[in-house]
Amino acid sequence: MPAAMFAIDLQHLSKSYGPVQAVQDVSLRVPPGELFGLIGPDGAGKTTLFRIMATLLLPDAGTAAVAGHDTRGGMRAIREVVGYMPGRFSLYPDLTVAENLDFFAALFRTTVRANYELIRDIYEPLAPFRDRRAGALSGGMKQKLALCCALIHKPEVLLLDEPTTGVDAVSRQEFWQVLGQLKARGITIMVSTPYMDEAARCERVALLQEGQVLRVDTPAALQAAYPVPLYAVRATGSLYPLLQSLRAYPATRTVYAFGEEAHLSLLPAATAAATTGTAEADLLGYLARAGHAQVQLRGLTPTIEDTFMELLGARPAATAPTAR
């Protein structure tokens, strides 16, 4: 078998559950050693893609190859070299930390000791709890243990389905550091997340919506792809009336809530005028007339989430959320 050009090679994958089209003509290629992110809201088809790559699910159409093996013919070979961490905690809650780890090592005909080097950094904080039942661990610890179990056989490809969902901010931070270390060892990592800030830590990301890939690019390129200037607007009082006013403003192109602020872009005519500063003055005047006090307006560097929202809005079929 020739060395695989791509660690993950998905071609025109489609999968439906009854009437629901979970994945629709998805093609992705991930070279070996890349840290690749699948970004998209719940129901975008991320888990379905993972299940196909992990040989748990056969696609209706298209092909998927992982580590050079097709998921139809080469299931057995894939299972030897893939580490999969499902979105839901899937270890034995009634076995201890050590028992879980030993068990999964044994299933891959290896031992914890043989591969301890790979998991040491992740396992060390867990070590004091080695005799505690997995079900009694905190969320962050569970994720660490699950990652250890997925790594215990030195996989070539690591598939992580929303590993940081429901995990506290500090643990998330640590988790991404660990992924960086694993990547440095040459492991290909496919990770999904609903958090846009985590997307920036991937080398490349695919934006998914309703089973389709909207765009694949580096986080920097995605940020740069935002086509027009972007503003953050805030005022005293609740955000909702401000959003309503901005939506009614004739020059508004897009506006949506982003944390406690509104992200706003203006129509091209207004944008052109913005260079002279009149557009901003006009907007501030409008908001003041609409009764909003202490309005602050500042220019923004778009984030991936802004690009994502932009792409959603550009799609005619998508139910583009202008406010969340």
């Binding site: 992990a54 056969l58 893939v82 034995y92 076995l95 068990f103 044994a106 005909r109």
Partner: protein, 371 residues
């Protein structure tokens, strides 16, 4: 095989942690003790109501005969049949004995006399037994009443008496007959339920996903699931036989190695069915309902409570698929009669066929990848 060993180790770790193990160890003993004493075909203390219309010494002696047995307890003497019928209606009486007028005269003159028995047949088993107990008492009474009065006549008559000899259970001890069957009934219940819940539990907690992406083979997985309960089955048989011997004094006539060998084969059938149900279900609840459906049929058609020969033809045909019926037959033959491997070759062959079919289906039905 090493992988299977690790699977086993894991299953035992889990068994040790939850209370399943307690159930596995204690349930068979408790159930055998309770069921053997409860599923009693000997009926004692039947409530007897007497209507004596003859008021003769002979009638009184007959009533005394009833009272001296452990089977009947005289609860009332009524002046009329109508009053006694009220007792039947209100469930105060199981049997009403009506001694008609001129009972003694008929007994002396015609050497035979009739009495009337009214039996409450709400429970047909009880009614049948009450009827036959009463009939045998009356018969015995007539037998001894005769010599005193008409001995000469009787001597000239060519009497033919049938004396049954009950082979393999000479005293018709119902426990001798029930306990071997109960051992297997209880074993089947426990083992099949546990096997049923096992895979589907891994589905519910999601661990099956994690297992399915490992290189573990289907047969290894199934074997790892089957073996712990297979071993549990042997434990249950051993404890069951001990209780049978020590508590119920059931004679263990036949070859125990043969019975264990038959059990080894038999256990793979309910286990295979359990795994098949488990592999086809999404939730434990679903799996339990299906398992329950099969178990009820297995138990009721097993021949444990009703002889298979009494069942309608369609039920007997259905019983060809009932593993419990085969093993209960084997257990009774081997334990009570000392049957050899050759004697039980028929049911053994049937079990082998069932085992192969069910387990092939289970392995086929369990998918590591879904479509």
């Amino acid at each position: 095989m090493r992988i299977v060993w690790f699977l086993l180790e894991k299953e035992f770790h889990q068994l040790r942690r939850n209370r399943t193990l307690l159930l596995l160890l204690l349930a068979p003993v408790v159930q055998l003790l309770v069921l053997s004493n409860a599923a009693n075909y000997e009926i004692r203390n039947l409530n007897l109501v007497v209507v004596d219309q003859d008021h003769s010494p002979a009638a009184r002696r007959l009533v005394d005969k009833f009272q001296y047995t452990p089977y009947f307890r005289l609860v009332a003497v009524r002046p009329s049949v109508r009053a006694a019928e009220q007792d039947l209606l209100r469930d105060r009486a199981d049997v009403v004995l009506v001694v008609p007028r001129h009972f003694e005269r008929a007994l002396v003159r015609e050497r035979r006399a009739d009495v009337q028995l009214l039996v409450n047949a709400l429970n047909s088993v009880k009614a049948g037994l009450a009827g036959s107990y009463a009939a045998s008492i009356v018969q015995a009474y007539q037998g001894e009443a005769r010599p005193a009065t008409v001995a000469a006549v009787l001597a000239g008559r060519g009497g033919l008496e049938v004396v049954p000899a009950y082979w393999y259970n000479p005293r018709l001890n119902y426990k001798t007959f029930m306990v071997p069957g109960l051992i297997f009934q209880i074993m089947t219940l426990i083992v099949m339920f546990l096997a049923t819940l096992n895979i589907v539990r891994e589905k519910e907690i999601g661990t099956i996903e994690q297992l399915n992406v490992t290189p573990i083979r289907k047969w290894q997985f199934m074997l790892g699931k089957l073996l712990p309960f297979w071993l549990a089955g042997f434990y249950q048989l051993s404890v069951g036989l001990l209780v049978a011997r020590l508590v119920f004094q059931v004679p263990l006539v036949g070859s125990l190695p043969l019975l264990y060998a038959a059990t080894a084969l038999y256990l793979t059938v309910p286990l295979g069915i359990g795994l098949l149900i488990s592999a086809s279900s999404r939730t434990q609840q679903q799996a339990l309902f299906v398992a329950f459906f099969f178990l009820i049929i297995f138990v009721l058609l097993s021949g444990l409570f009703t002889p298979i020969e009494y069942m309608p033809a369609w039920a007997q045909a259905l019983d060809r698929l009932n593993p419990l019926a085969y093993i209960i037959r084997i257990a009774r033959m081997v334990l009570l009669k000392g049957s050899t491997a050759r004697d039980i070759a028929g049911p053994l062959g049937a079990l082998l066929l069932l085992a192969l079919t069910v387990n092939a289906l289970a392995v086929w039905r369990y998918r590591k990848t879904s479509g």
